[in-house]
């Protein structure tokens, strides 16, 4: 298996967002995290690219992503006051999409900050 080395990778586990980490990835796993602290190391090693979970669940049953997206849209459109919440472990690009979605369905958008 080939070793894929990523220099200056960014750790998003804590707010420090260290961007000097060298990751060694082998297949579906990260095997080495140079310069990361112990929290960062376990964070990187914990997330693999394996298919551990079903693509999507509807009412607890495995479903396709397409169906799940349609169902999600139905719920959000039907709601009078939907809430979009979280946004901490996602990228800024995702957050922008989420703000736009919240506006479109006329809802509330909130992050961890308010807790």
């Amino acid at each position: 298996m080939t070793l894929n080395i990523v220099k200056n990778a960014t750790c998003t586990f804590c707010g420090c967002v260290c961007d000097d980490i060298e990751l060694h990835a082998e297949g579906e796993k990260i095997v080495e995290t140079k310069r990361a602290c112990s929290l960062g190391e376990s964070w990187f090693k914990h997330h693999t690219a394996e298919r551990l979970f079903p693509d999507a669940l509807i009412d607890g049953h495995p479903a396709t992503v397409d169906d799940a997206i349609e169902r999600a849209a139905d719920y959000l459109v039907a709601a009078d006051m939907p809430l979009v919440y979280g946004l901490s472990n996602v990228t800024c690009e995702t957050q922008r999409e989420a703000v736009s979605l919240a506006e479109m369905v006329g809802g509330v958008i909130d992050s961890h900050t308010s807790l």
Binding site: V17, A49, F53, L57, A72, L83, T91, C92, S111, L115
Partner: protein
């Protein structure tokens, strides 16, 4: 620099070495030796070892202590008994004030120990006031120690898209902001919202129980790399790629510096960005619930 109500040695392990006390700067050629570090907390955490001065205060007395400091820096008299209530003698406070004023550039990093205890927002506001008032004497700033990943980014993105940093209500087609009214905990505990999209968070593990109960009652949709506590009570769960590990993008560091992600793995799952965009497109295809909505601005 002052760390207040935080334990960076354990929660932000590289904060000391990478950003604060250990680095050498133009005016701090000797690194650690040129810096003074003060830790204010209710118990002696491992971070205390790194501090020049550790001030252990009584729980819930942060606001009182900050207020006393604000008076002291302006040379006003303070009531000694009131100061003793905080668990610290007046002499310690005076020592701290002297250190603060002697600094060429001071910074207060405040953590959850300050912003999540008695006083909450008021404590944060008081720290910001303290830092602002210190600028009459020397350069001083205050910065929150942010927790997981990209919460800072959420603030920044919401600020530049809606004008407010969090808890933004867009129900009327324009943004309204009122923490305590439109913040998640309150909305859920009161049972105001009737659907919820959760991404990059697991409120099912962290919310107060009435909030969790409400999430289970309404249609909840979860996007997460894992099947989380929240997914288990949700109607819809979609597995997504893990941010930074297998999903690219931009995140903000806690001092609001945007940094690119360099994912090392390729995930079999779509990214959050892609899924949210597709939900948005699916919403667009549905009939508008208000005339003139669905992507078109209401004039």
């Amino acid at each position: 620099m002052i760390y207040w109500g935080g334990n960076p040695a354990e929660c932000h392990p590289r904060h000391f070495t990478k950003y604060t006390i250990m680095q050498k700067g133009k005016y701090t050629q000797n690194g650690r030796k040129d810096r003074t570090m003060v830790l204010v907390d209710i118990r002696e955490t491992p971070s205390a070892k790194a501090a020049n001065l550790f001030l252990q205060i009584r729980p819930g007395k942060d606001f009182e202590l900050i207020t006393a400091l604000r008076a002291l820096i302006k040379g006003q008299r303070v009531n000694e008994d009131a100061v003793n209530e905080t668990g610290l003698p007046l002499s310690k406070l005076e020592e701290l004030v002297a250190k603060m004023k002697a600094a060429r550039f001071g910074v207060i990093f405040f953590g959850m120990g300050l912003s999540m205890t008695r006083g909450k927002h008021m404590n944060s506001a008081a720290v910001l006031m303290l830092a602002a008032e210190m600028n009459a004497f020397t350069k001083f700033v205050a910065m929150p120690m942010r927790g997981h990943g990209n919460v800072t980014g959420a603030d920044v993105v919401m600020r530049y898209t809606t004008g407010y940093p969090f808890g933004v209500n867009l129900c009327r087609g324009y943004p309204r902001f009122n923490p305590g009214e439109f913040s998640t905990v309150d909305l859920l505990v009161r049972g105001d919202v009737d659907a919820c999209l959760v991404l990059g968070a697991d409120p099912g593990a962290t919310m107060p129980q009435p909030g969790i109960d409400h999430l289970a009652k309404i249609p909840t949709i979860v996007l997460d790399p894992k099947v989380t506590h929240t997914s288990r009570l949700a109607r819809v769960h979609i597995t997504t790629a893990a941010t930074g590990v297998s999903a690219p993008g931009t995140v903000y560091r806690m001092d609001e510096i945007p940094l690119p992600l360099r994912p090392a793995l390729k995930s079999p799952y779509p990214t959050d960005e892609e899924v949210v965009r597709r939900i948005r497109e699916a919403v667009k295809r549905r009939p508008a619930w208000l005339p003139g909505r669905n992507g078109k601005a209401v004039m």
